[in-house]
Symmetry: C2
Subunit: 327 residues, 2 copies
Amino acid sequence: MTATPRLGEFQRIARFFAPLAAPEALGLLDDVALIDGPPGEQYVLKTDAIVENVHFLPDDPPRQIAQKLLRVNLSDLAAKGARPYGYLLMTALRAGHDEAWLAEFAAGLAADQKEFGIGLMGGDSVSTPGATTLSVAALGRIKSGTAVLRRGAKPGETIYVSGTLGDAALGLMVAKGGLSNMSPGARAFLLDRFRLPQPRLSLGPRLVGIATAMMDISDGLVADLGHICDVSSVAAKVEAAKLPLSAAARAALAGDASLRQAVLGGGDDYELLFTAPAAAQAALATIAGETGVAITAIGRIEAGQGVRVLDEAGRAMTVETAGYAHF
Amino acid sequence: MTATPRLGEFQRIARFFAPLAAPEALGLLDDVALIDGPPGEQYVLKTDAIVENVHFLPDDPPRQIAQKLLRVNLSDLAAKGARPYGYLLMTALRAGHDEAWLAEFAAGLAADQKEFGIGLMGGDSVSTPGATTLSVAALGRIKSGTAVLRRGAKPGETIYVSGTLGDAALGLMVAKGGLSNMSPGARAFLLDRFRLPQPRLSLGPRLVGIATAMMDISDGLVADLGHICDVSSVAAKVEAAKLPLSAAARAALAGDASLRQAVLGGGDDYELLFTAPAAAQAALATIAGETGVAITAIGRIEAGQGVRVLDEAGRAMTVETAGYAHF
């Protein structure tokens, strides 16, 4: 999850927190830590917070707030190839959340616990004079040494994404009253994609041993692909025409071509972004069929550094990423 | 850590969150979870948050805020008998914390990492429009099956506390401008006890196999002893005259006897509160000598329910706990 300004967060982490990192934190470059579990197993640890008026709105349904909170964390576990195991919950609640709000919030947690097979392992519940702040520390499990990190991308490999891109960024526009000329059904679809991410927990573990680098898309395709390139010391070339779009996103872009920026730069999709050698193509097709999650090749890893996006004519496109903010 | 009203927090947890608890969370009754680690070991998981203007003040030194944040979590690990291992950090920062603030905050983390032998294993850094909120998820390690829970107290056992009680509650009064008639040295001592808890990490692991129930004192002696009694299905009798006081606290109470309420009901001492059979007395004396941490018998576990505090004449005292709040 992100806050404004995003650049500030990365600088803050690199300058002040990275020097504090334990070996298990992988230099804080992977957004997860790996610690030894029972024989042959590791735990994957991840923490992500959401803040009222930054990552969710006061009027958002509490059930969906709870589910988004859990899912942004579970998505990171999926992106390492891990199975979800449990979580710790921190709630700092402002005045005004009544019992009905809390009951709905807990119902959202309960629904996702059941869906994803996890349990609440502890937490802290405090009051705040400010914005409600919710944090989860999630635990996943994975066979030792098999977690897919961000640092393994190599020149010549193909870049893939799961699902469709840009729906959440367009859904955020809907939440803010935009895209009013679209159909109610399309608007509802996009809003749902923004409010209720689908962590790719069926797909992620299937990519262990196939994907060479993987992460989930939370800051936007170009920004997140940039992270993989940075820590893998490679460059990436993306073909904009290949980006998988939902029918709703396709309709939105047909009405306003500038919305393609939301597909390239917008965050919160929580799809998987990964690299794999060409030889993996058949295996990936099988996995896509078996999991029911689309897998789309969108570009190629090259030697060098940075992310280039090319339009249909092969011209380099400019992508706005630094200015991305939730609200 | 607590927020106002404390009673509300417990009701909230019992009603909305306890039904979500995994077996590893021990019914959320122990404030920690235990999960399997490498052979013969378990991880102890704990999360605690602190909020600006609730648990710390905007002008508090950022170095001490960082250390308090870590230590309130490490204290819970000590209270299970665990050794600290690492932590995840969530920072939701409001505007106005400049680079000097962040550098001092990080320096506080670094100092405590070194002192307690732990490393940062990951985190999330977001912005907030409200009060700065800081959360840690701490991991400890312990030999499997040896964690000291809250539920093991039995009638006839002795109740012990480490260190001295009430200093932090009196230190909070100093922070708010109170106790102005005390010496600067005494005021500084009390303020330090409030701002910089000393997690009893040398003592806690030594009590494995001796203590039958244990927790740290964060909500106040009477409230926390009440938790042990509740989950152990026993009662407790405390002799107020036996409560260990620092020289500064003794001086404060000599000037104003009503301050004894701060010793009985005030929180944030982060001393260990535990029960043990009479046969353990000699072993405890040895451990106190070797660790340099005082261990004081303050009462006895009985059949029944609830906590009674008796004054020097054996009369029941009334203790204010429900109204305890940080600021």
